[in-house]
Symmetry: C3
Subunit: 341 residues, 3 copies
Amino acid sequence: MTRLDLTLSAVLELLGEGKLIGDPEFVCRSLAMLEKAGPEELSFVRDRRHLASAQGSHAGALLVFEALDGVAGHQIVVERPELAFARLLGVVARRQREQPPGIHPTAVVHGDAELGADVRIGPGAVVRSGARIGDRSVLYANVYVGERCRLGADCVLYPNVVLMEDVEAGDRVVVQPGAVIGCEGYGYIQQGARQHKVPQIGRIVLGDDVEIGALATIDRAMIDRTEIGRGTKVGDLVHVAHNCRIGEDVLLLPTVAVSGSVTIGDRAVLAGRAGTAGHLTVGEDAVLAGTAVAFKDVPPGAQMWGNPAKEKGLEMRIQALLRRLPELFREVRELRAKLDD
Amino acid sequence: MTRLDLTLSAVLELLGEGKLIGDPEFVCRSLAMLEKAGPEELSFVRDRRHLASAQGSHAGALLVFEALDGVAGHQIVVERPELAFARLLGVVARRQREQPPGIHPTAVVHGDAELGADVRIGPGAVVRSGARIGDRSVLYANVYVGERCRLGADCVLYPNVVLMEDVEAGDRVVVQPGAVIGCEGYGYIQQGARQHKVPQIGRIVLGDDVEIGALATIDRAMIDRTEIGRGTKVGDLVHVAHNCRIGEDVLLLPTVAVSGSVTIGDRAVLAGRAGTAGHLTVGEDAVLAGTAVAFKDVPPGAQMWGNPAKEKGLEMRIQALLRRLPELFREVRELRAKLDD
Amino acid sequence: MTRLDLTLSAVLELLGEGKLIGDPEFVCRSLAMLEKAGPEELSFVRDRRHLASAQGSHAGALLVFEALDGVAGHQIVVERPELAFARLLGVVARRQREQPPGIHPTAVVHGDAELGADVRIGPGAVVRSGARIGDRSVLYANVYVGERCRLGADCVLYPNVVLMEDVEAGDRVVVQPGAVIGCEGYGYIQQGARQHKVPQIGRIVLGDDVEIGALATIDRAMIDRTEIGRGTKVGDLVHVAHNCRIGEDVLLLPTVAVSGSVTIGDRAVLAGRAGTAGHLTVGEDAVLAGTAVAFKDVPPGAQMWGNPAKEKGLEMRIQALLRRLPELFREVRELRAKLDD
């Protein structure tokens, strides 16, 4: 694993917060989980529940939620250790997959594309006419950025990502490898037995801090836009159909499928392989549990389980009773026998 | 959005049908939905149900199913306005993602590959030995066309599409970005605890007017062929396993999965995330509703819901009764109490 | 289809086993299934159940499990004809998609990457700094191999495969087109309404003889490793989340999804579209049937059906009884009426 190699004082400076208990010159070689961390490694203690692990840990240094007794390593007290740790993970992540500066000679960037400062473009990447890429954004190898796409600053498009034309992305948007954004939605008109294609020419709009998982597909609408709001996180192999409006800070976990013209409210969560039928609304803060599928509107804040999705309590009762279904049939048979007696 | 910029007389000529009520020199700047269309835009009125919207619309021009009263804009009367509109969408679509003519210097086309007239090949695309590409077909950037593939005329392979060797496609076949056609089917033979790979060397045959969605996978069979019939439309992230025979004008919506050696009849519809077990037949005109999964043959024309798939009426009754299962258990408890009394 | 063109004596030599009954100079032009094989083709007879087909076959030669009477063609008696046939399929497969030797001039291989003997690298492929590729491994067009990846000997990465940094693969690992290995797992920390990304910097380890299907995603863990054991076969469009430990000789069929931090024991089978919630264990030799989803640990050897997954017998009874649910409700209504009478 790529090393961290930072002194505790450098860590403090990078975090911009924290109180050091220990030696500022101590060098953290790398990052590790509490149970496995060695004397040259930095780990973190999320909260009181991990106190025993912390006291048993061999970590050289710890990000802690408060000054801890009985802990061997140096300590940095921070507001939320797991967030501070995530920032250090980011330092290592950038380093371990850092792309060389500049534009690789095998990249094909159209003459009228506009590139911001310190944009990095890998081998074989293609940027088409009229595209604009913001400062410090990174396009890995074999990425395709279509005509008139607009990416903000500090975006990362991992290898083989495809942005078809007219995709607009805010700042700090991250797209994992192979995701396809702006392919055509599934639109056909039947005439007799035959299906006629309805070309899809709408736009895609991704807000700031959106992340799209590997091999996800976000479809272009016929004419309107498909929209994914600020801060929303889309997992691997997720499908968002044409004409959807996904709110802000929404979580679409891996393998979720959202059908066409669906609106999802802010902060809603669709857990793994959850899904929806088309033309419905999932309210703000609603949760669809893993593999739950909504065929009707989901009210704000609702917790839905099952397929078709039902209110969590009801679905749990049904599932519990299903296991007793054989018993119920037997009981009814007995009642009948007794009654006929 | 890319503009249309056509006069109504040019629109008429392009459609090859229609009766104009209004000014042939009126210029339609772009296409829009009825509710949002402005005075320079062209929209459409599908049928009588949209009459009120049409009369309230600010659209400069409308494709209409019959001459309409009380409508502000110019009108073109056509047989099916939504089909005519789709054709105009196609004009814009081609323009907004048009590929430059010729073969990009970074494409790698084998010396013995045969290219038809006006074939366009984007940067980094690879065409292997013995491949044949029909007239006017377009390969976007980083497409891979394997050995001896044969594509008809007017095909479009969007960026990063992979056709492994011996894939045969008819005319007007469209493959959305990143789809993989001709990867090896999931074939292994167990020997002791170990699994031995069965290499898959069959062919893939796609009929005319087939469309394959983004990041779909169509697997190669061991020795026979996997076949997708004329006019069939396959959605994003669909999986078609080895040795399947998919009929004509079939709709496989996004995230559908069809297991190995399945036959699907003409005009069948598998809605979102529907699926089948292997070695079965789905009859002509049958419908599997969203998330329905067939574990047995589906008769022609059947409407199946649920997992395992059941006849629609039965599944609907079961789902309705499931919500009353707590009540049923209570009722049986009461009956028992009364009887034991 | 690509031809075999081997004499029976060459076939014998290649298999390293078998007893020939017939002419060693007979040339097998190609491979075929029993029912369709012609007089110049080689097929196989798996066991006694296919005897009638064998006797009716026009195959020029047959791999057989024992010397057969009443069969027209030449015979080679081998231990397991289907395994011998699979080896011959491999000969054809290698030939029909063979990559030219050497490194294509448009590939971008970092100066400090280490390539073994006879490594083949296709157009547009990228090998980053510190990567090591074992002898005879083949990278097809537009493959991406990240920093410090280590591939063993005889690996095949089909077109557009992405290995992000620090992926370690054993010998004979095969990755079908477009699969993404080492993308970041779905890790976020909530702070207020917002989600903060947790960068994922762990490693991926794939054992010998692992095969990964087309467009599958194998996610990198935050800090630990995601591991797929020797001989495990992963299907198309499968998702393996961060921090999973998948055992040896496991079968994950196409479209399976394994959530984060799951452990799967050796020889377990997850059939098509089966899945698991996170942080659980599927025991050795356990089976999750097609579309079954485990929300709790699955004991070793268990056969689980349904969603949520239940012991097979229970789920079968429940499904059978569900079809009789309307009848049960009617019966209870009648009992009530009789009792109230």
